[in-house]
């Protein structure tokens, strides 16, 4: 019996675990594997690296790579070739097998997360009913790979970096996962395609108070999950050389590098799908999905628009991450852990309740009307603002009472010392 339709009238499991393995499915899967995963996504990564170097250079009043090809466009290709002819140095005392396995695991994890991202209508490799759980499951393989890398290197800096990395990744995974629950609740499904469909009908998820809070926590936790500044403590070069990949050189280091940028790309894609309505250009309109009339021409047009807007949004996230990297210094480890457990987790737990209230007021009555919207803003928006205030203020008070930073020069102590 279909439990979903008995309960709701609408089928709960709109997607299927199974697909018909016809010739066209095989061809599409083959194309995804060869063009997408072995060609397009690594290419995107190569140009993200180029973009980051250009953008970072502009932030620092430099020019950036401009020697290899026009505007330095072939710089990434040259770097890749250089990595290929570099000697692969593995320390004598390292665990040879695990040392090889670790970067492969991290890269595999980054690749697997992209399998459920709907880039446009019909343009999704697979759409399992439990897509989001799959996504979280495969993305938590990478801490394992990182830890194996640090442990197998037989190097104290590597081990320290790996320990830090695991503690950080594990801590920030909680707010990352908890912040996706409002989205699941509103869409009533774990499938990323259903979540996209819900946003076509009800507007982008980031554009209501609980959604916006979830969006922000998801972004912060994601930046921590991919080890980027200001959360790049696992590879803090001023303290622990290069963290878990201190003993990695040549192509094995290249794999870690590729995995990091692939991770940045995939969390940007996931954030776009979950909170910014995928490829839809307008927040409260079904355009261009309503142009679909079954003909191939309309399909191509709609997917063209969706893909273009999707890429723009992803680029925006990627640029934001570069921007943050160019602006903020690295965090201190105790503050990093505090921030995850004492700010983000309580906020996310509160936010789940706010999301349910929003569902009751705006989504459950059926159609999205201005009246529902206004009531929702009052019923869920005010508690969100109060909740954020409450959590941050309580923590500030606790921190002041504990004086955790007494031995550390803060802005206040510097002023006192100079007096």
């Amino acid at each position: 019996m279909d439990v979903g339709s008995a309960l709701y009238g609408t089928p709960l499991f709109a997607q299927s675990h199974r697909v018909d393995l016809t010739v066209s499915t095989c061809v599409i899967w083959g194309l995804w594997l060869i063009v997408g995963f072995a060609g397009l996504f690594p290419g995107i990564v190569a140009y993200m690296v180029w973009l980051e170097r250009k953008v970072a250079a502009r932030f620092q009043d430099r020019i950036g790579p401009n020697r290899v090809g026009p505007f330095g466009l072939l710089q990434s290709v040259a770097d890749g070739l250089k990595l290929l002819v570099k000697e692969n140095i593995v320390p004598r005392s390292a665990d040879q097998v695990v040392h090889l396995l670790a970067p492969v695991l991290v890269l595999v994890s980054a690749f697997l997360t992209l399998a459920v991202v709907p880039f446009a209508v019909g343009l999704v490799p697979i759409d399992p009913p439990s897509g989001l759980v799959y996504l979280i499951a495969v993305s938590s393989i990478s801490p394992l790979g990182i830890f194996l890398a640090g442990w197998s290197s037989h190097n104290k800096y590597s081990l320290l970096g790996a320990m830090r990395a695991v503690a950080q990744l594990v801590s920030y995974e909680i707010p990352q996962v908890l912040s996706t629950i409002p989205v699941v609740l509103w869409a009533g499904s774990l499938s990323l395609v259903s979540i996209f469909d819900h946003q076509v009908a009800y507007g982008w998820n980031a554009l209501n108070p609980p959604g916006f809070l979830a969006f922000l926590t998801f972004l912060i936790a994601s930046v921590a999950e991919v080890n980027r500044t200001p959360f790049d403590l696992p590879e803090a070069e001023s303290e622990i050389v290069a963290g878990y990949h201190t003993e990695y050189s040549g192509m094995r280091f290249g794999l870690f590098f590729l995995a990091e940028y692939l991770g940045v790309f995939s969390v940007s894609c996931v954030a776009t799908v979950l909170f910014l309505g995928g490829g839809t250009p307008l927040p409260f309109s079904a355009f261009p999905v309503n142009l679909l009339d079954g003909s191939v021409g309309s399909y191509l047009l709609v997917d063209g628009i969706l893909l273009a807007v999707f890429s723009l949004k992803v680029l925006l996230f990627v640029f934001a991450m570069f921007w943050v990297r160019a602006t903020l210094p690295r965090m201190r480890i105790d503050r990093l852990m505090n921030f995850a457990w004492k700010y983000l987790v309580p906020l996310c737990i509160l936010n789940i309740v706010f999301a349910a209230i929003w569902y009751e007021v705006v989504v459950r009555p059926g159609a999205l009307t201005a009246r529902n919207w206004a009531w929702g803003m009052i019923a869920a928006g005010l508690p969100v603002v109060l909740g954020v205030q409450l959590v941050f203020r309580a923590n500030r008070k606790l921190a002041a009472a504990r004086a955790v930073d007494a031995d550390w020069p803060t802005v206040g102590t510097i002023a006192e010392a100079s007096r």
Binding site: D20, L21, L33, N88, V108, V166, V170, G188, M337
Partner: protein, 119 residues
Amino acid sequence: MVAYNYVFVGLLLLTAIGFALAPLALVALIAPRKRSLAKGDTYECGVKTHGETWVRFRIQYYIYAIMFVVFDVETVFLYPWAVAYGGLGTFALVEMVVFLALLSAGLAYAWAKGVLRWV
């Protein structure tokens, strides 16, 4: 023929492993290989490595791991609730608030016990 979605995941896994191993194999073929005693040493800023490396680590990390497991299992309970919420009515919200309150009490207890303090 009907196949599970996860057949694609299996194929993707193989592709990804192949994608990772291919350049490594190429490196093994074309890159120079010259071993030396100094090159194979552990790199710890040029200082000779001192003492044991694979030591037992501080308990703090283990406690964070336990906290992680607790909250990860919590999300396993939260996902089905969130998916089915539309069909359950307002009472589901009350139930989940109770569940979340219990968990928050656990977090507050850990916090008060100083588990969350990085030393």
